[in-house]
């Protein structure tokens, strides 16, 4: 039998290949992210001083929603074709395999958000001084969104209409990330130090990295039973 780690790599490679073959599906959450953000200037004001104030919050809320919308693809297709059951049946350590799937999901949905965010920051007149902080908070925050969201998806994957329910389960759990991340970008825009908030985000990332795979694995076992 292959070792746990080589299975981890295999599963990661498989998920990345699958994602690459469905490139258009990957673009959808990103398009959503861009469209939602471009709605705000239309709805509020085109003045740079107004947009500057709301920019950190808007970018982060849009990132939360985009991450949540992309979550469904994490387990859905594998659940429908039965491969999720096979993954759960292997003798390998399930939380580790779950982590591989979450990592693949983050690489294909979270990482592109980080690349896009500075451009959207420019659209909302986010000061240059805050740009680096925006990237740093997204780099620390989006993995948390994928990890925590995975628990919600695992709980709802067996339900036919899990989409709205998923948002109800997952969004309250995202609130601390939003507070620290948007707070940090706000502070950076005003020229204050933000290291404290980044440390908090790092701590939340470590906490969710260690606990979320276990919760996701047990939730998956419940959904598959």
């Amino acid at each position: 039998m292959a070792s746990d780690f080589s299975t981890f790599k295999l599963l990661l490679k498989r998920d990345l290949t699958l994602a690459y073959r469905h490139r258009s599906e990957l673009a959808n959450p990103l398009l959503f992210f861009i469209i939602v953000i471009s709605l705000f200037p239309l709805g509020i004001s085109s003045e740079s001083k107004d947009l500057q104030v709301i920019a950190p919050g808007v970018i982060w809320v849009a990132a939360l929603l985009a991450a949540m919308l992309s979550l469904d693809s994490l387990f859905r297709s594998d659940f429908e074709d039965g491969s999720l059951e096979q993954i759960a049946l292997t003798a390998h350590f399930l939380p580790l395999l779950v982590l591989a799937k979450i990592l693949a999901h983050w690489l294909t949905t979270g990482l592109p958000l980080i690349v896009l965010a500075p451009f959207l920051g420019i659209l909302l007149f986010l000061p240059d001084s805050a740009m680096l902080t925006l990237i740093a908070t997204l780099a620390l925050g989006t993995p948390i969104l994928s990890l925590v969201g995975a628990i919600g998806v695992a709980l709802t994957v067996g339900l036919r209409r899990g989409g709205v329910l998923l948002s109800l389960l997952v969004l309250p759990l995202y609130i601390p990330v939003l507070i620290f991340a948007a707070g940090a970008v706000n502070e950076a825009a005003r020229g204050f130090p933000v290291l404290g908030q980044l440390y908090f985000l790092g701590a939340l990332l470590m906490l969710s990295l260690t606990l979320a795979p276990f919760a996701t694995a047990s939730a998956l076992r419940i959904s598959l039973s």
Binding site: V148, I151, L165, L168, P172, L173, I175, P176, A215, S218
Partner: protein, 245 residues
């Protein structure tokens, strides 16, 4: 002791015991609540700053306490149900969730009613109010998940996992909200933060807290009995019970 626990956790035994306990809890709840309300609404002196309107605290504070207490019970019961697969723990968790959500809602509404004359606004994004609102969202999530899954046992285990995830998150949410609030608003309005509360107000408050606990015990047992009947509807003792009545 284990034998007793084992016996108590059998649905049939629980059904009869709970039926006998409910009147005791219910009547003592009524007595304590009437005494507490009397002392709170008539005997306690008016507050030197807030006048009479502080009296809503005798409902508001116990409700807020219960909102957290019931969540803990729900999570612990959910955890027990997950680990030892005890049906009764699952039943308790499932029947606690709507009660806890109601307490949270009550705390929010009374808070808003009190906030209007005191702060001049129905709602303030105060740290405690906000974390109470998020707690309500967590409750609603558990309830929604519970009702979305058809198989009762799967539903109970799934919402047990969610409740446990929520318990890990509640302190994080609480402190992050507090931090967010104090950072963004210079002057935070804290309610009931006076370190000493006068004994004439403390006693009715504690009485009301006890009354709310008894009320919870009464209602949760009623709901749990109903839930047990629904789950065990194919069991022979339920069939006999229905035939006898």
């Amino acid at each position: 002791m284990w034998a007793f626990l084992y016996k108590f956790s059998s649905p049939k035994y629980f059904y009869t015991i709970a039926g006998r306990l409910i009147p005791w809890f219910g009547w003592s709840c009524l007595v304590v609540m009437l005494v507490g309300l009397y002392y709170g609404l008539f005997k306690a002196p008016p507050d030197y700053q807030q006048g009479e309107s502080y009296r809503i605290m005798f409902i508001h504070v116990p409700a807020a306490w219960m909102s957290m207490f019931v969540y803990m019970i729900m999570a612990v019961a959910g955890g027990i149900g997950l680990i030892w697969r005890i049906k009764l723990a699952e039943v308790m968790a499932a029947s606690s969730a709507p009660i806890g959500a109601s307490f949270t809602f009550l705390a929010l509404v009374t808070g808003a009613l009190w906030g209007k004359p005191m702060w001049g606004a129905w709602w303030v994004w105060d740290a405690r109010l906000t974390s109470e609102l998020i707690l309500l969202f967590l409750y609603l999530g558990v309830i929604a998940l519970n009702s979305a899954i058809e198989d009762k046992r799967t539903a109970a285990r799934a919402s047990g996992v969610l409740a446990l995830v929520g318990v890990v998150n509640i302190p994080i949410i609480h402190y992050s909200v507090e931090w967010w609030n104090t950072l963004h608003q210079g002057a935070t309005i804290t309610k009931l933060d006076a370190p000493s509360i006068h004994i004439s107000m403390l006693i009715p408050l504690l009485l009301m807290a006890v009354a709310f606990k008894l009320f919870y015990a009464t209602v949760v047992l009623m709901r749990a009995r109903c839930e047990v009947l629904e789950r065990e509807r194919n069991a022979s003792w339920v069939q006999e019970l229905v035939k006898r009545d």
